[in-house]
Symmetry: C2
Subunit: 358 residues, 2 copies
């Protein structure tokens, strides 16, 4: 940052808001963006003055490295509005820390945490009206950084663009979700970038996911690439299994994203004395548990859906349906998390972060 | 394509050439681009009319999927000029086929082969003056396709932009190259996208390569992610080992790029009765061969450098230097390949492709 003034943000307000044209009852996830965006360029070896400006297109050279070498990472977080019109973030520092861990792995310079948070708060205050009250409504926040240096030699970019864009979201309902356990394709290698929110991790999943969809599954639960014996995570969610009354989930590794929803569920499980085991989970034990009727639930955990119940799974051509669950762990944890996010319950862990009005 | 007229290309010529401002004696790889570029948009489920227009920046929404999900692939090929000013490509159909295999894996619509080639030839004819005569001079050609649909939901883009940009290149000399065998980091997973020229494969290598550079190695030779026991390929080259008089190289797989230079070297080796074994090559056998003095050569094979001799390697903290080689395989194959590329030798295999003047 120039002049040692990291918190000086140039703000150019949009002349008029687009908000009246938006149908908040019929939002499609991630399609509509708010009036403003945050931007900061990395040049000459340092992050320049951050700017907030009207949302709009950006111009790049066709040889910009992001297009050729996928040197890009992102984050996904949400802002919530409570009944008093206060705006809250959920564990934002965990997102910022992960953003910078992803950056390091992709050879991208880290972004200063205070500037990230200060810029985000300024942006949220400008676009406050886009955050609607009501359980399930939220503002999805997408920070990302892309390599902008022109030139097609395969080496790290010298220039980068950091951005934050925001999209209003309503309660997430993805229909009934059935998953297939990966037997052939993989998401991440040992010693690779699976733990990072690297752009390339996502595009690489589209083709196998399309194949899964043709078989009637909405998502893939990835297994380890070496043996396909261990269940790891889904495309944008960590996965939990309930066997009997026990909750199981894979440990994080260099292949698995350290999900913030995941670790919040684990903390809540401990608080509420739900037995939880963080350990390698084999395909075999889950298939056997399903066959014996001991697999009570499966659910995904991630920022977009919070908790996403899974109705069934496929493996080696067989299909397994999970029973309807009266008092499901999925809805228990979803409610607990949302009560904290929407300022409707005590925040024992200090996860809630108030966006102060300025 | 509209109107069933795939070969109708809209051409807008640059009002003036930038060529006089270019110092062809001091080209840095991939930094300068020619006067024109080819472009074609995928919209409404089909490729639209291809265009050739002056080289210049492109505009995208900040939410364009390429930035977030790395849905992007590319190719790398070269054009050569012979002493009669004829322009040649080297096995272009192999590049186009691989381009489309990469696209399929990234859930990107394939690009019609005839339009690719027709567009490329038109572009090369417009920018003919940028291709200089002389052994080693060439025009580096970078076709690529990026996902342009705005929206941050993690799903395949509906819109894409296909482009070809070109950069003049002089004889490639990268200095003395020493490599390190990967012991911890990996490039590709079984069942992943390693065989594709997916953008994300490259950005993921920058950080481990930076670490290798700090240890005095220019490149990493990747090993299989499961065991790190098998030598696979380098960042942008396939790797050959000469043990005694035998040439060894790894078979292609879903982790390894099916390099065109690699398969040309194998074909030439067979023609010239150089014993060549395409099989899994262990780290152990190469280290042992080096210790016994039987490892005569290592070299990389790829479009950018053609053949890149390797002077030494590191493994488990030890460094191994390779002997100077009088009649090296590396220079033998490099010469044979370049003689074909520059129309200085018979083209037994039909690899040369004449770009017809129009
Ligand atoms: C691969 C992957 N796993 C898991 C998650 C869930 O992480 P979080 O709970 O932090 O949103 C995400 C989404 O962020 C993801 O992209
Ligand atoms: C990963 C990788 N391996 C090998 C190669 C060499 O392939 P080719 O000889 O077709 O250029 C390249 C470059 O294209 C590459 O990117």
């Amino acid at each position: 940052m120039k002049n040692g003034l990291p918190l000086a943000i140039d703000v150019v307000e949009a002349p008029a808001s687009k908000i009246d044209a938006v149908d908040f009852e019929n939002l499609v996830f991630g399609n509509v963006f708010t009036d403003h965006m945050m931007m900061c360029d990395y040049e000459d070896g340092e992050w320049q003055t951050p700017r907030i400006q009207p949302y709009g297109p950006i111009q790049l050279e066709p040889s910009a490295k992001v297009f050729h070498y996928g040197q890009a990472i992102f984050e996904g977080m949400k802002a919530f509005k409570d009944d008093e019109d206060q705006v809250w973030l959920f564990r934002p520092e965990a997102n910022i820390d992960r953003f910078n861990r992803s950056s390091v792995r992709l050879a991208i310079p880290e972004f200063p945490k205070e500037v990230f948070l200060e810029g985000l708060e300024t942006l949220l205050n400008l676009d406050r009206d886009w955050i609607k009250q009501g359980f399930g409504s939220s503002l999805y926040i997408r920070p990302f950084v892309i390599a902008t240096e022109p030139g097609v030699s395969a080496s790290p970019s010298k220039n980068y663009k950091f951005m934050i864009i925001c999209s209003p979201a309503k309660a997430y309902y993805s229909g009934e979700v059935r998953v297939v356990f990966a037997e052939q394709f993989s998401r991440a290698a040992n010693g690779g970038v699976g733990f990072a929110k690297a752009a390339g991790n996502y595009g690489a999943q589209f083709y196998p996911t399309n194949l899964a969809k043709q078989e009637g599954f909405q998502q893939i639960v990835w297994t380890d690439a070496s043996t396909h014996e261990y269940l790891e995570e889904a495309g944008t969610m960590n996965i939990f299994f309930r066997v009997g009354d026990k909750l199981l989930t894979a440990p994080i590794s260099d292949r698995i994203l350290d999900g913030i929803t995941r670790k919040s569920v684990i903390a809540l499980a401990e608080e509420f004395k739900v037995p939880v085991e963080v350990r390698r989970v084999t395909v075999k034990e889950i298939v056997e548990a399903a066959e014996k009727g001991e697999l009570k639930e499966m659910f995904g955990a991630g920022t977009a859906a919070t908790i996403n119940p899974i109705k069934g799974f496929g493996y080696q051509g067989k299909r397994y349906e999970l029973p309807e669950q009266e008092n499901s762990y999925a809805s228990f944890f979803k409610t607990k998390l949302m009560e904290i996010q929407y300022n409707k319950a005590e925040d024992k862990f200090g996860w809630r972060y108030l966006v102060k009005e300025k």
